[in-house]
Symmetry: C2
Subunit: 239 residues, 2 copies
Amino acid sequence: MPSLTFRTVLVEPLYSGNIGSTARVMKNFGFSELVLLNPCEIDRNARIMSVHAYDVIENAMIATTLEGAVEGSNLIIGMTGLPGKTENEHKRMPALSPRKLREKLHRKSGVISLLFGREDDGLTNEELELCDMVVYIPTSPDYTSMNLSHAVAVVLYELSDIEGGETFLARHFDIELLYEHIGEVLADIDYKEHKENKTKMMVQRILGRAELTTREVYTLRGILRRIQMKVGKASGSPH
Amino acid sequence: MPSLTFRTVLVEPLYSGNIGSTARVMKNFGFSELVLLNPCEIDRNARIMSVHAYDVIENAMIATTLEGAVEGSNLIIGMTGLPGKTENEHKRMPALSPRKLREKLHRKSGVISLLFGREDDGLTNEELELCDMVVYIPTSPDYTSMNLSHAVAVVLYELSDIEGGETFLARHFDIELLYEHIGEVLADIDYKEHKENKTKMMVQRILGRAELTTREVYTLRGILRRIQMKVGKASGSPH
């Protein structure tokens, strides 16, 4: 049965009240899967702010590593308050708007993890590197820092009436193997080392945006293997 | 200079923290005009939740009547948690989604008042009657009641990048006169009294959805005057 499942992941939330507010707006928009990665103490503020959605918190998964939090995902989407200032910052660029994300997921099938960062510092660069796509809520340059649960509200509002479909997304784990494979090939072809990481990240962002299917991932890896074979062969001959 | 101006009106908000959260998300999305109609005491929770947007609260207008709060508006939009169960409830029906509202206001020009109701009871029927359009945020039937500032966040998110244009909306005051005029004509034509209020409300909702321009309002009133003249004449002759 094809369908889209969304997992809301709060990465190291600092304020218990925000966990409650997040639970409430999740339930408002029909979402129930909450993962809390190393959260603050969940005190009575969470209960007060969740109002009639405390069940979402009771059923939440508590994770201690990001890998555990996103386990089994097909796509990992990171929310950022910084859209990436230059084209060169491939970790953060290019960020999609929530509206665009909705369009990209139209008629897809899979588990989508939505990562929301810390109230003060957002997601770290390492956390963003793990993401297949980055989403940015377009805010006024006068005041870009949104309340955590407001950011969740806006993203879930956009995704609440999305239509799943027949296009099965590849698993993030398979895509990670593809990325590693690309790194290997860049090394095999002696791509200049100081550029390698940036280039790998750029390719990762391009493929992340492409919502790859499992079949596409296998095909791409077949091409990479072919390149590796040829490079291995080519190294022994002038051509 | 044609443009759209939005006024966020909180109708009798009960919690100071929500006023602060509303100010924050207004500033996040580039809005500054806040009107508080008979608000609760604005205490330190407002300051805490507004973070870097306390200036929005400092510059807010405090109103004591709804008429004062929406003065000078071209369109008054009421937010409701109840989309109207039957076609017969013309006060609440048909409600637009925020996305649809955005489409309707595209390339319009005027002052738009966005009315958000009390945390517990929303807007009264009398307040909704004053509105030209009603907006409903589509929520899950399991839990329809949203946090006030979440509702503001979703609506302002949709409207944040709207493009104003050359179509000047009629003033709400002129539209009110048109509605009164329609009421007169319904009386003049001896429209069955038990239906009159419902019908007047239905016509009001239809015209509210139509985003009338000043010229259109004048033309419609000309038609109504013509009807009144003919009815007046007709009463003295067989035809």
